[in-house]
């Protein structure tokens, strides 16, 4: 089911629901009265145990909502969802506020966070998150709910994003869109989009040939990508408004790794001379200039949200390594210092980190380097090969392609590591995750 902005703009009741939602938010603002107890900096070492209390109220939809919230929470690498059956005396509570909860029972089961559901009004559900140790409210909200399963799942996504807002400071993960490449038969790969929890899985393109390396435009209206047919490379452009695809040919033989800059221009590796080099294309896709004049292979540009830093792969010092260009000063410095083969850079939108894939004995592994301290950290450990890391707009989550389950699939981890979680993307190989920076991208 598509959830396009225009569809909602045309909905007669949307203004009513929006007003209602705003009203209840004003009546019941999120409360962050307790110090946060979630350790999101060292997942893997410190998991946060979360449990959901038995729902209060008379809604028959509460169980489905709790199931959706639980499924979302399992996608977070720093969260461990506890089965309420393990709570001494069961997961029942007598009230939706702290006064009605016996936190000791939940503490005995090592739960650190408790989520409560209170649902009496069919059109409104109260969801709260408590710190078990402190017996206090972390945040809570009333959420307007329409009929239908999609509406229920939308509430689960919104609540889980509110949870992330409270613990990592950015709450758009579950409602973000990711473009990726799905294999669809021999020599056929197309661009699809999906949310991180597998919802809104859509095919965007249907072409002869192979699509690679998608990138969303800053406004979420277009996706550009490499397209390879039997005899040439081209730049594919998918328009979410018209749902049409164009293929642009350029002189030369390569169109590799296109990416949008924040101002709507495009960086892409084209061949002009003997080596694929990174060019900047203007808004009409006209060539505006080359990244620099190195006599080497330069590919895979990745730009921060301000458009001031560009990471890329170059073999200018021998094998492929990660470099960073300051687009203001023009200076270039090498980032990857270890290993003979470092590729696929993704700079975090906040410009503080670069993730990349390093070739090691059994395949590639994802590393991240802090641009301020220069320290490098290994995020993934296989098995198989982990490649094509992509930062989320929050600069916290990282999606990547992995062959750990025997086929190419997309997994999600964080900038601090943690057990990667599989992104459900249906049958067929899935690769080249690319997050949209805009909430408009919903195709």
């Amino acid at each position: 089911m598509s959830m396009t902005p225009s569809r909602y703009a045309g909905c007669g009741t949307s203004a009513f629901w929006a007003a209602l939602f705003l009203m209840v938010c004003l009546i019941m603002p999120p409360s962050v009265s307790a110090a946060l107890t979630v350790d999101v900096t060292s997942p893997g070492n410190t998991m946060t145990n979360i449990v959901q209390a038995a729902p209060l109220g008379n809604s028959s939809r509460a169980a489905a909502l709790q199931k959706a919230i639980g499924a979302n929470m399992t996608l977070l690498p720093f969260v461990n969802v506890i089965n309420p059956n393990g709570i001494p005396g069961g997961g029942a509570i007598s009230g939706a506020t702290a006064d009605g909860i016996d936190f000791k029972r939940f503490s005995l089961a090592n739960a650190q966070l408790l989520i409560t559901t209170n649902w009496n009004d069919p059109s409104m559900v109260e969801l709260r998150c408590f710190s078990v140790a402190q017996g206090s409210l972390m945040f809570g909200n009333r959420y307007a709910v329409k009929d239908g399963e999609d509406a229920l799942l939308d509430v689960a996504d919104k609540f889980c994003d509110d949870f992330l807002e409270a613990v990592i400071g950015r709450g758009d993960f579950f409602r973000s869109s990711m473009a990726f490449i799905k294999t669809d038969g021999a020599r056929k790969r197309d661009v699809w989009s999906v949310r991180p929890n597998g919802r809104y899985l859509h095919r965007l393109t249907n072409m002869q040939g192979e699509a690679l390396s998608p990138s969303w435009s800053p406004d979420g209206r277009k996706v550009i990508f490499t397209h390879i047919d039997k005899r040439s490379h081209g730049l594919g452009i998918y328009d979410t408004g018209s749902k049409s695809t164009q293929r642009i040919k350029f002189p030369g033989n390569t169109v590799i790794g296109p990416t949008y800059l924040p101002d709507g221009r495009v960086a892409v590796s084209l061949t002009d001379g003997r080596n694929p080099s990174i060019f900047i294309l203007g808004h009409s896709l006209e060539k505006q200039g080359k990244l620099d004049e190195s006599q080497s292979i330069d590919v895979s540009p990745s730009v921060d949200a301000k458009g001031t830093l560009m990471a890329f792969t170059s073999n200018r010092m021998g094998g492929p390594q990660i470099f960073l260009k300051d687009l203001r000063s023009g200076s270039v410095r090498r980032i990857s210092q270890y290993g003979n083969y470092n590729t696929d850079p993704s700079i975090s939108p906040d410009g503080t980190l670069i993730a990349y894939a390093r070739q090691e004995g059994g395949g590639h592994r994802i590393y991240v380097q802090d641009l301020i301290s220069g320290q490098e950290r290994q995020l993934t450990f296989g098995p198989g090969s982990d490649e094509e890391p992509a930062f989320a707009p929050d600069s916290y989550f990282i999606a990547f392609m992995s062959t750990r389950n025997g086929k190419k699939s997309i997994y999600i981890t964080t900038r601090n590591g943690g057990e990667p979680k599989l992104l459900p993307s249906g049958a067929g190989d899935a690769a080249f995750p690319a997050w949209s920076r805009s909430m408009r991208a919903r195709e």
Binding site: S213, R231, V299
Partner: protein, 164 residues
């Protein structure tokens, strides 16, 4: 030449130059299935030549696009055939093994295709008879891991057509 004729010619040349410049910059197509270049059927002699050109695959070392002595010998034989059949066109496909990553391998495959292209260009094959395309590691010739498979996948293949 009178002024009117000269001005007309100048205008025509200007239009041709503008049109040519626009084409050189980029060319947009709607993506429709099919859309391949029309080809003529080959004569028996042309089919034999095409087979001889396609048969000899050349191989590369890991992360390298240098031509070995064997590869150069193979390309020399191909060049002499291609030159004798100017009506044929050769697509040089550059390929890589599975160990590298996709985007860097697309660039490396291009360098492999270009190595063969430039070598045959120096041997006198016309620019109009050759095209290049890199598939990176998208299309391995041999499946499986290990040097035996990898060495067969680091290659240039040669596809021959007879364009209209």
């Amino acid at each position: 030449m009178n002024t009117t004729l000269r001005n007309g010619l100048l205008l025509l040349l200007t239009l041709v130059l503008i049109a040519g410049f626009g084409c050189a910059k980029k060319q947009a197509d709607s993506l429709t299935p099919g859309g391949e270049e029309e080809e003529l059927s080959m004569t028996g002699e042309e089919r034999q030549a095409a087979m001889n050109i396609s048969d000899g695959i050349i191989y590369f070392d890991y992360d390298s696009f240098s031509l070995s002595a064997e590869a150069k010998s193979t390309l020399t034989q191909k060049a002499s055939i291609i030159k004798r059949f100017p009506q044929l066109r050769v697509i040089i496909e550059g390929h890589c093994d599975e160990r590298g990553t996709e985007e860097y391998n697309l660039a490396l495959g291009e360098r492999r295709a270009r190595a063969a292209y430039e070598y045959m260009l120096n041997l006198g094959v016309g620019v109009g008879q050759m095209e290049m395309v890199s598939f990176g590691k998208l299309h391995p010739a041999v499946s499986g891991s290990g040097e035996v498979a990898w060495s067969k996948n680091r290659r240039d293949e040669f596809k021959v057509s007879k364009p209209k």
